[in-house]
Point group: C2
Chain length 367, copies 2
Amino acid sequence: MLVNQQQYRTIWASVCDGLHTVHIIDQTRLPHVFEVVPIYHFDQMIAAIKTMQVRGAPLIGAAAAYGLALAMQEDASDISLCNAVHHLIQSRPTAVNLAWAVQRVRQVILPLPLQKRFQAAWKEAALICDEDVILNQAIGLHGLSMIQQKQQSHTIHILTHCNAGWLATVDFGTALAPIYAAHNAGVDVHVWVSETRPRNQGASLTAWELSQHGVPHTVISDNAAGHLMQQGRVDMVIVGADRVTAKGDVCNKIGTYLKALAAADARQQGHEVPFYAAVPSPSIDWAIENGVGHIEIEERHADELAWMVGRLASGEIASVRVLPEGTKVENPAFDVTPARLVTGIITEHGIFAPHELKGIQQKIKNV
Amino acid sequence: MLVNQQQYRTIWASVCDGLHTVHIIDQTRLPHVFEVVPIYHFDQMIAAIKTMQVRGAPLIGAAAAYGLALAMQEDASDISLCNAVHHLIQSRPTAVNLAWAVQRVRQVILPLPLQKRFQAAWKEAALICDEDVILNQAIGLHGLSMIQQKQQSHTIHILTHCNAGWLATVDFGTALAPIYAAHNAGVDVHVWVSETRPRNQGASLTAWELSQHGVPHTVISDNAAGHLMQQGRVDMVIVGADRVTAKGDVCNKIGTYLKALAAADARQQGHEVPFYAAVPSPSIDWAIENGVGHIEIEERHADELAWMVGRLASGEIASVRVLPEGTKVENPAFDVTPARLVTGIITEHGIFAPHELKGIQQKIKNV
């Protein structure tokens, strides 16, 4: 998508004089600084995933695939492969795409002689990236049809949480793919962007990328989402997901569950506020039925809540501590929205009610 | 309550060599700086209310009462009185205590000759402050009984939102009064403090005052409240309210509605998570039945969401901009939790289910 009128993906590879480089956008510095960071080594990629320079389930899958390739460049032995797979999967425990992408690359290279593993892994990572782009475009088109069915004379107000835009994927995004598709098709859409504490991905990433693409949007505190739905000022909710279970439970950024509760309550009071999660099929974990209690919820560092990064009036980027010294913090990064609160899952194969998901499992697997 | 082991109220008056001064704690500087600010003039008090140096429904009622007294010191005419009443009521539109306190002082001084108005207003403001303290102590005792009924072998985990502690009142607090009473009575309580964006009153004020008093607590993002309740890690929710309607709708800091939805959903899933609002009876607006759509919701400045105040690593207090430049913001300060989600209203007269509130209206009025 566009950054300063130039097309970018969130991750891309280059080879120059035999030097293999993966390029990523450092998302911890957005929206204040747009910086592309070169990654040459496995350890750098692990650090980029852990510190969330790259984040978003599909993007960390792609980044992990390249990470495994870099590990093979350094040492293509079985022990190195086993270690790299283990460290990558541990780097962020909640998203299913990461493990999916790593296992996919592993299966391709495991039967190969050592000297062919790096090149094969590099190629497979590139394929995962390209496929992600295609999946997201398909999600965008299915979502567009749904939005167009809803369209009346007025602006369509879509609420989203966290960032499931192109920055969370290789390109186009998941939750934002239908929104970009609708905007590009001339549908009058407006996006309510929830700030998404503690890391502010809504305020810093979603607002930034929508602004770069010219999509009308308004940032709200996470707390304001319920009030807006109660007032009938939201036409639908579309979020991404780090993992969707076989029965349609949606594991996504902490706070998603509260938005789903508010949408359900608004529906009970007569407002039509469907709640959708948009995911590529690799984000569906067919091995888990019930998300609540069965998906490991990553607990992140207290500093994410205690400190806030921003720009001083002088223009300098700085961190300020917002909590009293010594305050205890608990910081779960994700929550689970039970399927009973979910209207539909938007996938590259179409939009499915949670109870329909399982019926298409084989279809999705066979494609 | 205690600040650095010394007893304070949030507002108090002094007279020295004929100079009448109201003292307030500047709550915009907490938790980083504890500063007492003297107020000599009506305009200063209006500014203190508008900029939220004083905030919390009971405290702004007390502050407004003193504000009216200061206006009478400057000019005790009927026109001045009328103007001052008007400006005070407009300074924060949502809380009912402010209008209640201003009208109470007005009714006392209106029949009086001009030269007696200032002294009478000053005395009435002091009375309002003392009464608030007594009401809050009574709220604390009723809440304590309820918590003691709940007490089992384990720690009682109470979730609160925003700041309805002693800082929001003259002393003791509303939502936190039962918690202080329980802690002081030796009940093992632990408080989940939600950050409360956009002004962070939970993280900056509630965490600070609980810490000064030694009550165990943990700060969470607003987004995490649903997850904790879903996991059965919250035993009850107690919040304050800026206004409660005659049928028990609770208007409180934005995001309260989402906590109430999560508590109701947890109850439906078999967790016992009652939702209480603790208010002195002046916060009940008998003139309004339905809160949704019938209470004016204050829209505050975009900068509350766009900028964040904190302490740099150097120790200096600074503001950082966290939103991309030019981002549009909507910032409603309150929401309405429908009575159907409310377990009980804790008042100085006892704890009442929403449908019982009206029956005690006369009783409350006659006390």
